[in-house]
C-alpha cells in the first residue's frame, strides 16, 4: 500500500502539489486524472524518488520513502512519460544493465518479451526503434522484476490498438495478483475500463478521490466518462474540451 500524507511540492513560484493526502491500495487500479500541469506526473515522480517533496511524507507499506530509502525502489516499477534510452544500446543490453543494477534476475522476462512482442527487436539498437516499440520496451522494463507497485505515466501513449488492448489486459491481471497500480491518462475510456479508484487533480490539489460509483453518485452522470467531463468542466469552466475529444 502507498500512502501520501500532506505532500506539497513547489517548482519556483508554482505550487505543483498542494497538501496531497491519498492512499493507493493493493489489488486496485487508481487512475490519476486532470488537465496538463495538474501535478499527475509530479505525484508519480515523488513516489519513485525522482522529485523530492517540500513537505509531507510518502509511505510504502508503512515505510517512509525519503532520500535514504532507495532500496524500496526494488519494489516499484516505473514507466516514464517519455520512453528515451541511450541510442547505442540494444534492448538486450538495456535489460542486462537494469538486471545488473537490481542485482537479481528478472522474473517473467521471456513471458513479457513475448507478451510485448519484442523478440524481433531484442538485439536491435534502440535508436532504430519506432516510438511505439520504445514504449513497449519501457513497459517491459517497468514490469520485468514483477514489482508490487506499478507507476505508469500515460502507459498507452504511442501504442497501436492491439498493444494497448494487451496492456489493459495485463493491468487487469496484475490487479488480480494484488498489485498496487497507479496510472495517469487523458483517455477517459481507459479510466472507465480499468479504474477502481479515481483521483482528480487540479492545480496540484486533489478535488476528488473515490470509486467510480462514488463519482457517478456525486455528479449524477450515468457513465464515468461523462462524470469526469463534468468534473473537468466544473473546475475549469469548460476549458478542457480537448481532453474530452481525446477521451471520446
Amino acid at each position: 500500500m502507498i500512502e501520501l500524507r500532506g505532500v506539497s511540492k513547489r517548482f519556483g513560484s508554482r505550487l505543483v502539489l498542494r497538501n496531497v493526502g491519498v492512499t493507493f491500495r493493493p489489488g486496485e487500479v487508481t487512475a490519476l486524472i486532470g488537465p496538463n500541469g495538474s501535478g499527475k506526473t509530479t505525484l508519480l515522480k515523488s513516489i519513485v524518488g525522482l522529485v523530492q517533496p517540500d513537505t509531507g511524507q510518502i509511505f510504502l507499506n508503512g515505510v517512509p520513502l525519503d532520500g535514504g530509502a532507495w532500496a524500496c525502489r526494488d519494489r516499484i516499477g516505473y514507466l516514464s512519460q517519455v520512453a528515451r534510452f541511450p541510442e547505442n544500446l540494444t534492448v538486450q543490453e538495456l535489460v542486462a544493465m537494469l538486471t545488473m543494477l537490481r542485482r537479481r534476475a528478472p522474473e517473467r522476462l521471456q513471458e513479457l518479451r513475448t507478451y510485448f512482442r519484442l523478440e524481433s527487436v531484442w538485439d536491435k539498437p534502440l535508436r532504430i526503434l519506432s516510438g511505439g516499440t520504445r514504449q513497449r520496451v519501457a513497459l517491459l522494463l517497468a514490469w520485468m522484476f514483477d514489482p508490487e507497485v506499478l507507476l505508469l505515466d500515460e502507459p498507452t501513449a504511442g501504442l497501436d490498438p492491439v498493444a494497448a488492448a494487451r496492456l489493459k489486459d495485463l493491468i487487469l491481471q496484475e490487479r488480480e495478483r494484488g498489485k498496487v497500480l497507479l496510472l495517469t491518462t487523458h483517455v477517459l475510456a481507459e479510466v472507465e475500463e480499468l479504474a477502481d479508484q479515481i483521483v482528480f487533480l487540479l492545480d496540484g490539489e486533489v478535488h476528488f478521490a473515490g470509486s467510480p460509483e462514488e463519482l457517478l453518485l456525486r455528479t449524477g452522470e450515468s457513465t464515468v466518462e461523462g462524470a469526469i467531463v463534468q468534473l473537468l468542466d466544473a473546475h475549469t469552466g469548460g476549458v478542457l474540451h480537448v481532453d474530452r475529444v481525446i477521451g471520446l
Binding site: V51, W70, A71, F85, L98, R102
Partner: protein, 261 residues
Amino acid sequence: MWIGLLGYEVREALRGRWVWAYGAFFLLLTEGLFRFASDPARVSVGLLNVVLFIVPVVALFWALVGFYQTRDFLELILSQPVPRRWVLWTKIGSGAGTLILFFAIGILIPYLLHARGQWAALSEGLWLVGTGSLLIVIYYGIGFGLAVTREDRTRAFGIGMVFWFFTAVLYDALLLLLLLLLRDYPVERPAFVLTFFNPLDLARILLTMRLEAALLMGYTGALYERLLGGVLGQLIALGVLLLWAVGPLGWAQWRFMRRDF
C-alpha cells in the same frame, strides 16, 4: 553494482567518436611538435598554452553535453534501487575519467617514443598531464554543476562559455590592468592572493615554474617565484588547484542530491 554502472558509462563514452578525436588531437599535436622541435623542453612549452586553452573548454562542454544528452536515461537509472550518490559519481568518474585517459595517452605516447631515458623530459610530460588532468576535473565539475542546476541548456552553455572566457582570457587582462592602475602601491601580496581565484592562472604558474619557462611566467608567476621560491610556490599552487578540484565537485554533488528529475 556501481562498478557495473561505471563500466557501462565508460563503454558508452568510448562508443562516441569525440573522445577518440580528442585523444588523436593531442597525439598528433605532440608528435608534430616533437618532429619540429626535437628538444623535449621546447615541446612542453609549446604544448603548455594549448593544454591551458583547449583542455578546460572541452571538459566543460563534455560535462554539459553528457548530462543533457542522457537526462531522460538518468531518470530511468534513478528510478531503480540505486543510491543517487553512486549515479552521480559513476557519471562524473566516467566522463572526466575518459577525457583524462585520452588526454594522457595523446600526450604521453610521443613523450615515451621521443624522450626515452630522458627523465627530466618525461617528468615534464607527466606534469603537463597531471596539471591538465586537474583542469579536466575542475572544469568537468563546474560543467556538471551548471547542468544540474540549469534546466535550460542554452543558458547553461552560455554561462559555461562566459566562465571559461573569463578565466582563460579576461581575468589575466583585468589583473594586469589593476596592477598597472595601482603600480604606485604595494600590490604584490594582494596580486598573489588574486591568482587563487583563477584555476587557469594557477595551472599556468605551476607549469611555467616546473618547465622553468621564464618568458611565459608572466607577472604572477614571477611573483610566486620571488615571494615563495620555486618549490613552495609550486606546492601552494598545487594545493589551491586541488581545492579548486574539490569545490566544484562538492557543489555538483550538493545540487544533484537535491535535484528534481
